[in-house]
């Protein structure tokens, strides 16, 4: 603070009007800067989304939105682009990932809220959270070199028994497949699903849980009568958030899904998800409209994940009464 700014106080007479004016100008400037920043970031992000749709528009014009989304053939060398094989791959792998990850995540959340000794909850929670911190490409590297070969016997076993009756589980089993992608997705979404579920379970009324215990209920009774019923809506939000994560996961999936433009009949066939085909083909996209078609796949991914996340946020807001953190 400069000498002149302190002067009125030292004289003992407060220059109230001056203070108020300075305060007002300062606040106004502060507000203006923040507003400009917020407007700028909103406009920039909005423009980026719009620009992506514009870049993709030649493809939408040629095939139509419905035609592009439902087209089951993707043949860049013939300038034929249909997104369905990748939408199918995204659906199959995400569903399989959730199928494996959700029960595991719910059990972990129960363990860390109700079951485990209080001393262990912190460290175990951190260990689960660290799973989320491992970069996608590292999971991919490990998945490609360790997980895929290790799962081969399991895949062969299923394909040799169940696969004889149900073609969806049939051979051949080359290793890299929708199945491998689903398993790696499950590993990657367990932390997010269990973290949100844990938050939800922890916010169920403690007094009710203790009442059940006081009445002679077991921890299973607590879970069955209090934690699970009250936490149901929040659990749904966690599942939907996990789905959003699974849909967008790119590099790990790209490394283990086997990269095929066609729809694989079996879950053990190689394929592509929306995200992985973009990552895999983008740098070699030299055919007519190929880059535009990949950007168009990106806009499909954008629309799907906005819808999925809006649903998740909606459920969570209803559950937590608008508070973001659940407090």
């Amino acid at each position: 603070m400069t000498e002149s700014a302190r002067a009125p106080e030292q004289r003992g007479a407060l220059d109230l009007a001056g203070l108020r004016r300075r305060r007002w100008t300062g606040d106004l400037a502060f507000r203006a800067i923040l507003s400009a920043l917020t407007v700028a970031i909103t406009v920039v992000l909005g423009l980026m989304m719009i620009e992506s749709f514009i870049s993709a528009s030649p493809v939408y014009q040629k095939f139509g939105i419905i035609g592009f989304v439902t087209g089951s053939e993707w043949a860049p060398s013939f300038t034929i682009y249909g997104a369905w094989p990748f939408i199918y791959g995204t659906l199959v792998t995400s569903f399989l990932g959730l199928l494996i990850a959700v029960p595991i995540s719910v059990l972990i959340a129960l363990l860390l809220t109700d079951l485990a000794p209080a001393r262990l909850r912190g460290p175990l929670g951190i260990a689960v959270d660290l799973l989320a911190a491992v970069p996608s490409v590292v999971y991919g590297l490990w998945g490609l070199l360790v997980l895929v070969p290790a799962m081969r016997p399991l895949e062969q076993g299923i394909a040799g028994t169940l696969g004889r009756v149900v073609p969806f589980f049939g051979p051949p089993t080359p290793g890299s497949s929708y199945f491998a992608a689903g398993v790696i997705l499950a590993i990657m979404i367990v932390p997010i699903v269990s973290a949100v579920t844990r938050e939800v379970f922890a916010s169920t009324p403690r007094i009710q849980r203790e009442a059940v215990l006081a009445l002679g209920g077991t921890r299973w009774d607590v879970a069955r009568t209090v934690t699970l019923p009250i936490g149901r809506a929040g659990l749904l939000a966690a599942v939907v958030l996990g789905l959003g994560r699974a849909i967008g996961e790119t590099i790990a999936v790209t490394l283990v899904i086997g990269n095929s433009d066609n729809i694989g009949k079996s879950i053990f066939s190689p394929g592509f998800t929306l995200a992985s085909v973009i990552a895999n083909e983008f740098n070699e996209a030299t055919e007519t409209l190929h880059p535009e078609a990949l950007i168009a796949l990106g806009t499909v991914l954008l629309v799907v994940s906005v819808i999925v996340n809006a649903v998740a946020i909606g459920i969570r807001n209803r559950f937590t009464g608008g508070s973001r953190s659940g407090f």
């Binding site: 407007v39 972990i108 689960v128 077991t218 299973w220 009774d221 009568t225 849909i247």
Partner: protein, 294 residues
Amino acid sequence: MASDGAAVFAPTGGARRFRANLLVVLAVVALLLALIPLIAVFGYVFVNGIRSLLSLDFLTQDPPADLSATGGGVRNALVGTLEMTGLASVIAVPIGLGVAIFAIEVGGGLARAARFLIDVLSGLPSIVVGIFVYATVVVTQGHFSGFAGSLALAIVMLPVVTVSAEEILRLTPRPIAEGARALGLARWRAILSVFVPIGLSGIVTGVLLGVSRAIGETAPLIFTSLGNNFFTLDLNQPMQALPLLIYRNALNSAYASARDRAFGAALLLILIVFGFNLVGRWLTARRRLAGSRR
């Protein structure tokens, strides 16, 4: 009495206890199922990567032009990762903090719109962010660049920083907020010299978590910084990053040299990411502890 209570919940004592114990067993199995991959991934990467990482050349030399050749290091990728993540933080932290303060102090329609966009962004696949930057910056500039990569990483970081900063600033204790007003501080002074310092460790945690997320991202860089086999500090050039280098070498993992390089770089990347992550968590834990003592 005990039997009355039991009747509310389940028919017989033995079956109840069995089910309760079964639940615990199942939960422990689930936890193990989740932690086995963590241990397996870290263990495998450590065992296969430590030999590369222990040699100084790995950090001070660039990779050979041919991925299948042995030797060389990952200097270009390490420097590229640090430079791009650094610039991304410089972009994302002030904007994230600004939007968070705006949302709390001003509010209204604009704040809601910005917050909605940030919420959308936080759920957006990072590869889509890469496409955004490609369609605008890369196409306009006509070439891939480290700058475009930084921008993509900044957009990935932005929601993490904004959401955590907003949460922390909302938690400013009411007496302190009122005290600041009572002292006649202008709102901007109150925010910058009272609220932000109080929430500083929380804000730093958000930044560190954002950095640890951005540093591991591969997908957005494929369309923006592209990767570069040579060392460069020039943000106007295509730039290599650790995740990109791991990805390219993993695609060529038939070669032992590429595999070794990928594992060395993966171990380096994991150590960096875990470092940021654990420091961030430690700061949060310390704050909680201090808060509970108060």
